[in-house]
Every structure is written in C-alpha cells, then in structure tokens.
C-alpha cells in the first residue's frame, strides 16, 4: 500500500490531493502542454529535451520512457493530464484500463459488461 492509500484508504486508487499535486506538478504541466499539436510534435521530435524543459524527476522520466501508466500515477501524474500523453500514442481508455489492471483489452471490456449485470 502506498502512502496515498494510507492517507485515504481506497485500495487501487490514488486520491489526487495536495501532496500529489505538488509531486506531479512538472509532469502534469508537461502533459497539459499536449493540448497543443505543436507541443505534441515537439515531444515526439525530441522526447528527452522536452522532458528536461519541465523538470521531470528521474522516476517520472523513466515512467514516461516506459509508457508506464501505474508508475506515472505513483509519481504524481493526474489521469486527466496523463490522458493527453496517452493520446499521442492513440491509446484509448480501454487500452489504459487493460494496461493498469494487467488484463487483455478484451478481458477488460468483458469485465465492464459484467458490471452491468
């Protein structure tokens, strides 16, 4: 259990509070910049340089390099801003759901259907 879960007590969920907002500020600011196409292209052209401009920590840089959503969340990433990072690679929310739960996309979608029964 991470410290966020200790603070808020919701397993599998990081409540994005002040501590996370502080921890993730640079990372989220970078992802927020991806609302502009020129910035998405600049990231793709020079990922290292782009990350450096936003002062990512080593752990955040590694998580961006690894396209590791759970690690990005753990290091202060906010799902709404991270979605803009994922969008660069055309990942939809079911791709992301599957990645985070360790299921295949089909298994993840089946689980959603099951929730409606």
């Amino acid at each position: 259990m991470g410290e966020n879960t200790e603070r808020h007590g919701i397993p599998g969920t990081i409540i994005f509070d002040g501590a996370e907002a502080k921890r993730g500020y640079g990372l989220n600011k970078m992802c927020f910049s991806f609302n502009e196409e020129a910035n998405r292209n600049a990231f793709l052209a020079d990922e290292d340089g782009y990350c450096r401009r936003y002062g990512l920590t080593d752990a955040q840089r590694d998580a961006i390099r690894g396209r590791d959503v759970l690690a990005l969340l753990e290091h202060g990433g906010h799902p709404y801003y991270l979605a803009k990072f994922a969008g660069i690679f055309h990942l939809d929310v079911q791709d992301l759901g599957a990645m985070q739960t360790g299921l295949s996309k089909e298994e993840f979608k089946a689980r959603l259907v099951e929730a409606g029964r």
């Binding site: 409540i15 927020f32 799902p79 759901g97």
Partner: protein, 279 residues
Amino acid sequence: MARIVGSIMSTHVPAIANALERHDEADPYWKPFFDGYEAVHSWLDEVQPDVAVIFHNDHGMNFFLDKMPTFAVGCAPEYRHGDEGWGIPTVDPYPGHPDLSWHLVEVLVGDEFDITTCQEMLVDHAVTNPMKLLWPGGGVPIVPVTVNTVMFPYPSAKRCFALGEAIGRAISSYDVEPDLRVVIVGSGGLSHQLEGKRAGFINKSFDLRFVESLTDDPRWVTQFSGEDLVKETGSQGVELLMWLAARAALGGSVRRVTWNYHIPISNTAAGTLVLEPAA
C-alpha cells in the same frame, strides 16, 4: 421572471464524440445509449428552452493545477472548444449569455459563494458532448458553471447542493428577459474510474440508489464525504456532483420525465435523466 423548465443530466464520455462522427447511433454497442435521447428530444421540443446553464467539470482544458477554482462561472460572449490532445473533433464555439452570467455572479456572491468569474473560457467534452446529444441540429446559448473534481479536496455534496439551489433562485430573479426559459444541464457520471489498479470500477447499485434519491430525497447523497464518493462511485464517478447541483436548482418537488441507464459506454455507467418541476 425567467423560468427553469427542467434539468437534464447526461453522461459526457469522450467516445460519444467519435461515435457521433461515425454515425454509430444504430450500432448494437451504442444503440441502448443513444435511444435514451429520443425522449429527451421530444421533451426539449415541448419546453423550448432559450438558454442552458451547464454544471460541468473541467478535464485539463480551461484550468490547470496552477489555478484551480472550486466553483467558476463562465461570463464569456462565446465558449470555444479547445484541442483536447487525444483526437476528438472540435466543434464551433457556443454563444454565451453574458447578461444572465453576470446576474448569477451578482446573486451567488451576494449569497456568500466565493466564485471565480471567467470572461474567457475554453470548454471540453463535458460541455460539447451533452450539447451534441441534446441538440443534434444546433443548440442554445450557454452559461457554464465549473465544479472542481480535478484536485482534492472537492467541494462537498452538501455545498454543491447549496450552489444548485442558489443558482435556481438566481435564475428565478432574473427579470431582464421576463419570459426567458432556462434549462439546467448536469454533465458527467455515472460511476466510473479510469485510473489505477481499480480502473474499470462501476457501481450499479449505488448509481440506481442515487438516481432514485434525486426525485424525492435529493439530499440523500449529501451524507457522503468526498472520499466516500470516490469509494462508492469511482474516481470520476464523483461527477454525480453535477447531477446533484442540477437537481437542486429545481427546488422542491420534481417529476421524472425520462431515465435511461446503460453499462458500459467506454469505461462508464452511462445515465440520462430528465426532471422537471412538479406542476
């Protein structure tokens, strides 16, 4: 005095924009969802609103973590749909209704709500998708009211209820256009969670209990804390706060006009509800 004709609560899942672009309304995956809007369209034809006040939450479009208001009221002449970064088609700007916006601001601050006013405001799918769903062929001018569900602490359910009530009163005291017909929109929900190991979380029984409560016992959900709501509805299920504010704006007794619920649309339990003031 202006009159509130009713409240429409609607899911705003981004994928709706792609489905509409592909004309997937009759596709077996989408049909149970889109069918729910037929009754909404008939009702809108009947009540003919002139303007929509939309409770919504921002998803990293108009606000960033540098400045995050708890409540914000759009006072802009128009609202532009920004590039959201992940490829849903952008739509033409929606006209605003600045006179009504400023009246809401006057009354809300007078009522001791410490709101942020926005003379420029970008909107995202939380405004554009309900607009497309409700008015496929056009639309009405809008007044967006933004509620923070990005960064904890969120405003409490109790406070969102009070905000909705205050906006209801403010609309009823707007006398610049005495015949103005206002529809309230609550955008978001129902239960869903996009991120973390609990991604895909949906809670049908809580959703149904909540929607039931909106008719006769609308303060029911105000017993839950922000953390409780995340636990019960998922990280993004807290968007039910928009539904609650939209319900509160109607005041006392209401009548349910239509209700549709379908799991899943994308990662979400999708809901569509219309309530109108009881005669």
